[in-house]
């Protein structure tokens, strides 16, 4: 361009990944919001039993919750170790994160085995069953995806392919992981605290 003022401001812009990941999380928030709204709208509307009070117990789920929330802390520690180039610590904390996530999934599987196997409570049983399995199931699906992604990163780290320069990209995965944890807080409150 020929005619321009002497100084042109260069707008300060975020990296692609920041905005891209925030967009993904925004759209996910509204997906889970829809599921939660339907769960709340149908709370206590089931014509036939069983009810949440009869089926859900808070014991096992509380342990699962602690595990999942703890994994949010361990992933922060893993990233901190990566930034200070401590590969061993990075792999160790990442392993703990994957383990905690897996623990959560195993805990959910135990809970569901009890519900389906012993109480014969399924998606088809009543309205509560439909909303419960859909909401908790979609969350568990997201945890599964996160565990897979983190395991993949751990494997790459184990093979020695992860370096300090990758910390930004791994941080985006950690945002997703924090998001999945935050959704669990909402699901836990709605299903096991308010809904019971």
């Amino acid at each position: 361009m020929t005619s321009q003022p002497n100084s042109i401001s260069v707008p300060k812009m975020l990296p692609h990944g920041h905005v891209g990941m925030m967009s993904v999380i925004t759209t996910e928030i509204f997906f889970f919001a829809s599921l939660i709204v339907v769960y709340l709208a149908y709370l206590g509307k089931s014509i036939s039993g069983p009810t949440p009070e009869e089926l859900l117990s808070i014991g096992l789920v509380s342990i699962n919750t602690v595990a999942l929330l703890a994994s949010s802390v361990t992933i922060i520690l893993a990233l901190k170790a990566l930034r200070s180039c401590n590969q061993k610590k990075f792999l160790a904390w990442l392993f703990v994160t994957v383990a905690l996530g897996t623990w959560f999934l195993v805990g959910t599987a135990i809970e569901w085995t009890g519900l389906i196997g012993d109480a014969h409570f399924t998606l088809q049983t009543n309205l509560f069953g439909s909303t419960f399995y859909t909401l908790v199931g979609f969350h568990a699906f997201h945890v599964t995806f996160g565990v897979c992604a983190l395991s993949f990163i751990w494997f790459c780290g184990f093979m020695g392919w992860v370096q300090k320069k990758h910390h930004q990209n791994i941080e985006y995965v950690s945002w997703y992981w924090h998001f999945v944890d935050t959704v669990w807080i909402a699901v836990f409150l709605v299903v096991y605290v308010i809904g019971r």
Partner: protein, 548 residues
């Protein structure tokens, strides 16, 4: 190794199928959108043929149901969405001075999801079974109200085709929206602060954010409906205690923002065309931005005005009626800004401008009938009548489609390097304009007379024959308009006048590169100092940046 099967055609095809270039993907989106426009147009013609005279039997009731469902679904998801996303894909990087979108491969993935979602919807004609067990295509209306969609009332698989194909296409739209938000927020050229972006980029930014918010809700309820139909869940099963109105609430929480997702790009095209053909800057750029963002916000809070006739409480009615009036304010601001842009300008009535002015007038009428429907007692009278059909066709045909044609004639030279024929373009405009008014104008009157929508025939001597005959004649007039469009495009692709880089003497960055642009868009990335960088370079003695 030499590939013996090499031929120019197969290598060309391979190049297009494997591309991650935003311009090629944009063109593919728009070409698909236009092909579906003709498919859905033929469905509409069959509808008008059936309704031309009372007690007609061109279509059976079942086929009629499938045709109006497929017409609406196609026009919204396979015509409107791909054309606006294609235009955004093609022009956003060019307008903000970037070489491509932020995530090119995600972009290609989004397109192919849309592409196969669309094919899946149309495969239903062969693979599905509808209400009667005879028709293959979905026949539950484009908003697929519960409990009509339950397996009791919709056996067969046509409704499942509706669910899965739109779910797949919707995923593609979400990915493109992620891409657009990221591209606009992170890839603007040197000097382009947010308030120096072309207004097109602002409107597409708000549009993409609305997609991110609205589409996942549709995905969620479609999953619930699929669970109901295929796995025996009870989400919309009143006998299990469910409330079928939940479908309506959540569908319209998606569906109303969707209306703005469709019309905001229309605003964007017209806001670029109007200033260039009035030889003036866009009047009230900052207000335009504020109005766009306000529309984005308010659009999320008006959904239940589609549900006034469902027995909502008076408080809720009052809120949604009020919110709907409120959204008229920023929309009205835009209309006044466009008129103020025209005011005192040196207007050139080239085809893009004809369509833009047609848009402003017809969209305003559609907006005003919308305000009429926001009045609750009025809506009770007119809900689900042809008045509503007339209203939203003024918004989406006289509004969006006119804006699309305006943009098509404006940017076709940039994309192909060839000008479209102006004479044919003007004839197309007048045929479409007359046909449009003749088709959709009388629908307001037949609606007042009480003609319900989605009814495959009507009785004689109820005062409906005249209006319906007018509408059907209008549809035939439109055929000439669309025919001229096809002739014009095919003719101009082969023999059109060479366009040059900047045939309209425009001001935004896409006109600073060649027509068609090279794969890398710009030889050197531009830097800008005002909203009209090309004005600055053409008039170094009196640049815009001194005044902004």
């Amino acid at each position: 190794m030499i590939d013996k099967t090499y031929s120019p055609l197969s290598s060309k095809l391979h190049e297009w199928v494997t591309t991650a270039d935003h311009k090629k993907l944009g063109v593919m989106y728009i070409v698909c959108g236009i092909l579906y426009l003709f498919v859905a147009g033929c469905e509409a013609l069959m509808i008008r043929w059936q309704l031309a005279v009372p007690e007609n039997d061109v279509l059976s009731a079942e086929t009629y149901n499938a045709f109006f469902t497929m017409h609406g679904t196609t026009m919204i998801f396979l015509v409107g969405m791909p054309i606006i996303l294609g235009a955004a894909n093609y022009f956003i990087p060019l307008m903000i001075g970037a070489r491509d979108m932020a995530f090119p491969r995600l972009n290609a993935f989004g397109f192919w999801l849309f592409f196969f979602g669309g094919l899946l919807l149309y495969f239903s004609f062969l693979g599905g079974q509808g209400l009667s067990g005879e028709e293959g295509a979905p026949d539950v209306g484009w908003f697929a109200y519960a409990p009509l969609t339950s397996t009791t009332f919709s056996p067969g698989s046509s409704t499942d085709y509706w669910i899965i194909s739109l779910f797949v296409a919707g995923m593609g739209s979400i990915m493109t929206a992620i891409n657009l938000v990221t591209t606009i927020l992170t890839m603007r050229c040197k000097g382009m602060t947010l308030m120096k972006m072309p207004i097109f980029a602002w409107m597409m930014l708000v549009d993409a954010i609305l997609i991110l918010i609205a589409l996942p809700t549709l995905a969620a309820i479609q999953i619930m409906l699929l669970l109901d139909r295929q796995f025996g869940a009870h989400f919309f099963d009143a006998q299990a205690g469910a409330d079928p109105l939940i479908w309506q609430h959540l569908f319209w929480f998606f569906g109303h923002p969707e209306v703005y997702i469709l019309i905001l790009p229309g605003f964007a095209f017209v806001s670029e065309v109007t200033p260039v053909f009035s030889r003036k800057v866009l009047f009230g750029y900052p207000l335009m931005v504020v109005a766009t963002v306000s529309i984005g916000f308010i659009a999320l809070g008006v959904w239940a005005h589609h549900m006034f006739a469902t027995g909502l409480s008076p408080t809720i009615l009052a809120y949604f009626s009020g919110a709907t009036f409120l959204i008229g304010v920023p929309t009205g601001m835009k209309v006044f800004n466009w008129i103020a842009t025209l005011w005192g300008g040196q207007i050139r009535f080239a085809t893009p401008m004809l369509f833009a002015v047609g848009f402003i007038a017809m969209f305003t009428i559609g907006g005003l009938t919308g305000i009429m429907l926001a009045v609750v007692p009025m809506d009770w009278q007119l809900s689900d009548t042809y008045f509503v059909v007339g209203h939203f066709h003024f918004v989406l045909f006289g509004g969006l489609l006119f804006a699309i044609f305006s943009g098509f004639f404006y940017w076709f030279p940039k994309v192909t390097g060839k000008m479209l024929n102006e004479t044919l373009g003007k004839w197309q405009f007048w045929f479409l304009f007359a046909g449009f008014l003749l088709t959709f104008g009388p629908m307001h009157f037949s609606g007042f007379e009480g003609m319900p929508r989605r009814i495959y025939t009507y009785m004689p001597n109820r005062g409906l024959e005249f209006y319906n005959m007018l509408s059907s004649i209008g549809a035939v007039v439109q055929v000439f308009g669309f025919g001229l469009f096809v002739v014009n495009v095919l003719h101009s692709l082969r023999k059109g006048k060479p366009a040059g880089d900047d045939p309209w003497d425009a001001w935004t960055l896409e006109w600073s590169t060649t027509s068609p642009p090279p794969p890398w868009n710009f030889a050197t990335l531009p830097s800008i100092a005002s909203r009209r960088p090309l004005w600055d370079s053409k008039h170094p003695d009196d640049p815009d940046w001194k005044y902004e």
